[in-house]
Amino acid sequence: MGMRETIDQMRQMMSQELEKVCDKQTLEALRVRVLGKKGELTALLRGMGQLSPEERPAAGQLINDAREKFTAMLEARQDALRAMERATALQRENIDVTEPAPLPPAGSAHPVNIVMREMVDCFTGMGFEVVEGPEIELDHYNFELMNIPKNHPARDAQDTFYIDDNIVLRTHTSPMQARTMLTRKPPIRIICPGRVFRSDEADATHSPVFHQMEGLVVDRDVTMADLRGTLNAFAERVYGKGITTRFRPSFFPFTEPSTEVDLTCSACHGKGCRVCKGTGWIEVLGAGMVNPRVLEMCGIDSTVYSGFAFGIGLDRIAMMRYAVPDLRLMYEGDARFLGQFR
């Protein structure tokens, strides 16, 4: 039998054997049998000595080609085996991805603080600085400098918690207006979010503790139009496009002119619904031009400077936004309620 035939036979044998191989050991045995030191092809190579010098190059070429071919065949099979193994392994590692898994506990800020932070972001973006003041406040700042003189009904013990004759739990965040004006020069642009207190029994819509955010701007030539522009920007930033303000005349001792500010009802976009009692507007805040008397009491020349101020009730806004039916839920601390916020 000629060499070519022998090699052909070897190839046939390998093809048949490789078909059957399904593990590394058998594959290795086959490699050794054919390509090993004592393998069949190696033996063929060794047998070349018996050939004539003229035959040798062609035979050598034939054997080398065969070696390459057989190596490739073995490698191909090896790759196939590896792929099969990987596939089996993947199969084995299959999991039920739909199986429910416990989630890490969800945390959340308090709804009032969620609302507060949104507003703070909005106003700080407009160049307002956050200032914070004492919750237990001097009567002087809470009332006197806010143009609420002694014996004014607002100072009644029915509305105000007193510590002593001169110290109260602040009834609004407005005293920070006075504290700021007394220590800074215009231009002043501040907001003061914080906790305030009124002597109200807790019920679905009242709480003796609640939260406000005061805003104050004092500069040359500030007008009601600046107040409106600022609050329009706030309305759109916090409540979305198309939400705007309605001003209604009102009265606060520390502003003149004063206004109640309504925002377009965000539930119905002004069409009128249950939330806004059909009016299309939601009463959100009180505002106005700083009363010149307040400016003067705080050492600011009211003939040179003017200013506006506003006060937003944060609990009320949170209540409306999330349709919270009872304000007391906010102060109860039940995780079933608080866990809903995000």
Partner: protein
């Protein structure tokens, strides 16, 4: 304040419907709560005459009536009222008529007889006795007067009006009156305000001085007192229009004399009082502060002991009226009253308020005095009352007026610049427009170019700061809707959150990321809450600032710690069946012992964490606290012993640079019982102000390591009581500069180790920044840290 629209219409035109009127009023600053249409539910009820009234054949109490309602044929109506009779003029609900309560009348048969409607009682029509006397007597309503057959009964019964409910602003007490509202109405709707012409016809004899003497001793509390006397008083019922007005305004009709005082109060805003002059001892009125213990029984039949200083209207002997609040029973107007003295005075608002609160009496009168009654207009009100006395033939007005007004208030004049008045509003209101508006509002205006000289009308007391007030007046009439929106101009300001707020926000983010829910509790607590913590008697937190007028015992002191509220909230969640929660509160605590320069109590921002649940233990919460602090750049060591309200074996302090920054532990079982907590819970307390002081910025990054690290694990056996924290700390210190990381990874207990022994496994990582470490270097370092472990803690390599 409720006012029937008919009454307003007497003085100002309202050419629009109630809804439009309400909105117009709101937009010029006169708040309206809403409005009510009287008789809104009544429809199709007409006047009819009972022609015949025969007994029903199948009933012993029903009647069959033929009733003429002005139509071609009379109606047959079956009626059960005992008082029905032929000839009566009655209200008839025809087929299809509507009655209050959603009732619709339909033609039908009653015991076999056709009934084409219903004869109504006053009650069925929803008509109150104020509007039609004796209306609720048994049976059907029988009209006393003659009315055309088929006429709508609503106007007859006063059920054809709309009552507006105004919400008057605190600075506009002048609008607590029909005239005030009518003035605003005229401005809002562009109609004309016409006050009634007031003329008093004096038919009485002599002069007021023949009847009464008035003396005001305390003019500080009663700066003006106006009095007139009515002789030959004819007390009787008020006419229908007066009863209707009072009813619409929410007041009861008493008799003509009292009704006139109430009518005048509602119309002018001036409370009045009527004294039975015969009951005024000595015919001498003395306005003075009461003496301690003086006694009066008020009109409502209640006895009051007055306190010294409260203002009373007295006769020669005793208080006869609590000034501005309520009259005395003794001098009340009765059917036998012959002579009346009308009082229309001005009392100090603050004093009235204090007395009203102290005696617990609130009336329409006291409410008005508290808000401020105009000192310049009581005479007009008095004259109006006397005019009505004459017009209603209720008595003879005696000539002469007593008007004690020692310090008359002059006209108020305000000056301003049109340009500045408009500028403030942000709306370009032309000067002519400003003048027009102010005149419309009854201001006297003189304009000289840009400058205005304005005389404030006598009924306006709220114009106190000049130009700014005029801006508001001009703007509210010109229209708040006209205000454009402009963004802030001028020098910009950097803005931004305060450092305190940034920290609070950062802490909130970190904690919510670790599954914590934020809670908010009141700032005031029960003084008993802190007692449950079992603090030592000298603990400064036991000193909590009391509120002088708390809502109740449970909310009477300002909290000095957030812990009791957290424990209460954890307990609430346990009781509500919540399996596991992580909570935090960041809030203020108050220290009355340490005062600021302004003598205010010190306020500190505290943070408290609380958790319970299957997955929670001391270490999970401590890990949260450590993570939180480390994120803020505060490295801590853990030391034994924390707070007395924590489990003594499971409480610790986290210490940084010698300062305790966190107290942490499992709640003491005793405390748990006191707070009625059904499960173990953990809490941690931190101080945000302290954290703000201690926190460090991140700084620059470390270079990436260029040389390989080498790890060594080690198991040490030690006494069970040996604390691993200090051991690890000491080993780490002994490891030297090349020790990069040292940590514990396992604790193993077994009888093989011996009683009360444990084996703890550690892992150490060594690395040098500039070279590959040699075996010798690492060996030496390990030797050192082993030595430290053995010498300081008796921990030895596990054999």
């Amino acid at each position: 304040m409720k006012i029937p629209m008919k009454w307003i219409r007497e003085y100002a035109g309202i050419p629009v419907d109630a809804e439009t009127y309400m909105n117009k009023m709101i937009m010029i600053g006169d708040g309206v709560e809403g409005y009510e249409r009287l008789g809104a539910e009544v429809e199709g009820v007409v006047v009819g005459r009972v022609l015949t009234c025969d007994p029903h054949p199948n009933s012993d109490h029903l009647h069959i009536c033929k009733v003429d309602v002005g139509e071609a044929e009379p109606l047959q109506i079956v009626c059960g009222a005992p008082n029905v009779a032929a000839g009566q003029l009655v209200p008839v609900a025809k087929n299809g008529a509507h009655l209050p309560g959603g009732v619709t009348i339909k033609k039908g048969k009653l015991r076999g007889e056709v009934s084409e409607g219903m004869i109504c009682s006053g009650e069925e029509l929803g008509c109150p006795p104020e509007l039609y006397p004796n209306i609720w007597e048994k049976g059907i309503l029988v009209f006393n007067e003659d009315y055309p057959l088929g006429a709508d009964v609503r106007p007859i019964l006063g059920l054809d009006d709309t009552v507006m409910d105004f919400e008057v602003l605190a600075n506009r007490p002048d609008c607590l009156s029909v005239w005030g509202i009518a003035r605003e109405t005229a401005v809002a709707l562009g109609t004309e305000f016409k006050k009634p012409e007031i003329t008093v016809t004096e038919t009485g004899k002599g002069d007021i001085s023949d009847y009464v003497r008035v003396e005001v001793r305390d003019t500080d509390l009663c700066p003006r007192y106006v009095a007139r006397v009515i002789d030959n008083v004819r007390v009787g019922p008020s006419p229908k229009w007066l009863r209707e007005y009072l009813y619409g305004a929410g007041m009861r009709s008493i008799n003509n004399v009292v009704d006139i005082t109430n009518f005048v109060m509602l119309e002018t805003g001036h409370p009045m009082h009527a004294f039975d002059l015969d009951k005024v001892e000595g015919h001498h009125i003395i306005v003075r502060r009461a003496k301690e213990g003086e006694f009066i029984t008020t009109l409502d039949g209640k006895a009051h002991t007055m306190q010294a200083g409260q203002l009373a209207i007295c006769d020669a002997a005793k208080p006869s009226c609590v000034a501005g609040i309520m009259g005395g029973e003794e001098s009340e107007i009765t059917g036998s009253t012959r002579q009346v003295m009308f009082e229309c005075a001005v009392f100090d608002y603050a004093a009235t308020r204090l007395t009203s609160r102290a005696l617990g009496i609130r009336t329409e009168s006291s409410g008005r005095f508290e808000k401020g009654v105009n000192i310049r207009t009581p005479l007009e009100a008095m004259q109006r009352a006397c005019q009505l006395i004459h017009d209603l033939d209720a008595g003879d007005v005696v000539p002469g007026i007593i008007d004690l007004y020692p310090n008359p208030v002059p006209d108020q004049v305000v000056t301003g610049s049109c340009a500045r008045i408009a500028r403030r509003t942000g709306v370009d209101i032309p000067p002519e427009e400003i003048v027009r508006i102010l005149e419309q509002l009854h201001f006297g205006v003189r304009r000289d170019g840009d400058s205005l000289t304005v005389t404030v009308p006598d009924f306006r007391q709220d114009i106190t700061v000049g130009e700014a007030d005029l801006s508001e007046e001009a703007l509210r009439v010109y229209g708040y809707d006209e205000i454009p929106g402009t963004l802030l101009r001028g020098e910009t300001t950097p803005g931004g959150r305060s450092e305190r707020m940034r920290l609070r926000d950062q802490v909130t983010d970190l904690l919510t990321g670790m599954g914590f829910l934020e809670i908010m509790n009141y700032s005031f607590v029960s003084p008993k809450a802190i007692e449950k913590l079992g603090l030592p008697a000298d603990d400064p937190r036991l000193n909590q600032l009391p509120i002088r007028n708390p809502l109740g015992e449970d909310t009477s002191v300002m909290r000095s710690t957030l812990v009791p509220d957290m424990l209460r909230t954890l307990a609430l969640n346990m009781n509500h069946g919540n399996e596991a929660v992580r909570l935090f509160e960041a809030s203020t605590v108050y220290d009355p012992a340490h005062r600021t320069a302004e003598n205010l109590p010190t306020e500190t921002q505290k943070l408290v964490l609380g958790a319970y649940g299957k997955a929670e233990n001391f270490f999970t919460l401590r890990a949260v606290a450590e993570r939180l602090l480390r994120q803020l750049g505060i490295e801590v060591t853990v030391e034994r012993d924390g707070a007395p309200y924590l489990h003594p074996g499971r409480t610790a302090r986290l210490v940084s640079g010698g300062e305790t920054v966190c107290l942490i532990g499992e709640v003491h079982p005793e405390v748990r019982d006191r707070f009625e907590m059904s499960a173990r819970a953990l809490i941690a307390e931190l101080d945000l102000d302290q954290i703000r002081r201690l926190r460090t910025p991140m700084g620059v990054v470390k270079p990436m390591p260029r040389y390989p690290s080498v790890s060594r694990d080690l198991s040490l056996v030690m006494d069970e009581r040996t604390e691993v924290g200090p051991l690890l700390r000491d080993m780490a210190a002994a490891g030297g500069a090349i020790l990069e990381d040292a940590r514990m990874f396992d604790v193993y207990r077994s009888p093989i180790l011996g009683p009360d022994r444990k084996s703890v496994a550690f892992s150490f990582v060594f690395r040098a920044p500039d070279r590959t470490l040699t075996e010798a270097e690492i060996g030496k370092a390990m030797e050192k840290l082993l030595k430290a472990a053995e010498e300081k803690h008796g921990a030895v390599i596990r054999a």
